[in-house]
Symmetry: C2
Subunit: 217 residues, 2 copies
């Protein structure tokens, strides 16, 4: 519907310097085009011919550089995941667990999702397709987080009668779900500045999780 371009689109193909060869630029053009289309229509909903057209490249080049359609999709997913993995790992390792660290870590996750909307869409597709790839690394980060929460519990900063596993999972759910459902349910929230809306949400959620919703007696 929005495919206005016939041969070369205006935005992100590798039209610059058509004569000279630049395999790396070609790779990037394909990756970018594929990401845009995969994220919007999914693996099965995106023909390679469209990716090629959108990237200003022949369909054969996709197979030349990536082998197959699915390998291309996999590479896109891994690219995003690696970025998040590096960020969170740096934050969690070589640190003592505390309530402050937990809050900072959650805010980092929320902010990462806010600034990487494609990552949110990729998560959505992974859920739908039940894609278990890179689950090993996820478990690793998860257990690192659990350890930090346990340390915070032992330090007396957090209640000890709650399984750290669930605490962590809750925060992940609250962040991810906000963005996953944002397009569908934004009509439920007062209109206004989008950024402010996100800030208000994470602020409320952090307060909610730390202190609960029950009125003090």
């Amino acid at each position: 519907m929005t495919d206005s371009s016939t041969t070369a689109s205006a935005s992100a193909d590798k039209a610059t310097d058509r004569r000279r060869r630049d395999p790396e630029a070609t790779r990037q053009a394909i990756l970018d085009a594929a990401e845009t289309l995969f994220v919007e229509h999914g693996l099965d909903g995106t023909p390679t011919s469209r990716i090629a057209r959108h990237a200003g490249v022949t369909k054969s080049l996709i197979h030349h550089h990536f082998g197959s359609k699915e390998a291309l999709w996999t590479e896109i997913k891994e690219r995003h995941w690696a970025a998040y993995y590096a960020l969170q790992k740096a934050m969690l390792q070589n640190t003592r667990g505390s309530a402050a660290l937990l809050e900072a870590s959650i805010r980092a996750y929320f902010d990462f999702l806010r600034t990487h909307p494609d990552m949110v869409r990729i998560f959505s597709w992974r859920f739908a397709e039940e894609d278990h790839s890179s689950v090993t690394q996820e478990v690793e980060l998860f257990q690192l987080g659990v350890e930090r929460i346990q340390e915070a519990q032992e330090a007396g900063e957090l209640r000890e009668d709650i399984d750290p596993t669930y605490v962590l999972k809750s925060f992940l759910a609250l962040c991810l779900h906000w963005f996953q459902s944002h397009g569908m349910t934004c009509s439920m929230f007062p209109p206004g500045d989008e950024r402010a809306s996100h800030d208000r949400y994470i602020q409320q959620i952090v307060g909610l999780i730390f202190d609960g919703i029950r009125a003090p007696d």
Copy 2:
């Protein structure tokens, strides 16, 4: 990969009494087969020919009874949504808001998802495909829930400095995400009875949300 059947599968086709005609049974067989396949592989990943084979029916019959592939998918989604809508609406209307009602409502949602795993998968696909259908009814239920929470706040049972909108959205996120990610992340949790695992989760989450995770000073 798992398509063992050639013409008539063992489980859910309408093979009983092959001679006689039964349009309603045919409709059901198609709906059931389509649900199984759509939920697993999505709309684009499920050819109508496979649905027909799985239902023990000709491909043409799908178009005869449902018009198109997408109309069939839509009907499946609506069938599930209607069931949930009826349940939740009955619970929320003609009731005064209270902390107990909130907890009961959340547990009802959680239990509905637990007993309707296909519904969870449908949500996943809706997120991925950014399907905004039936969002009107969702908003209606949502606002009904918000009103009940406000009543509970006015009754002094819940903190008044938290936007009811976010409270409700949090609970929905915590329930849905648990099942959405369950297949992928169950390795993070101690093995054992599945049912017990669900019970433990909802118990912890309810406690967490109501009282927070901060240690009492």
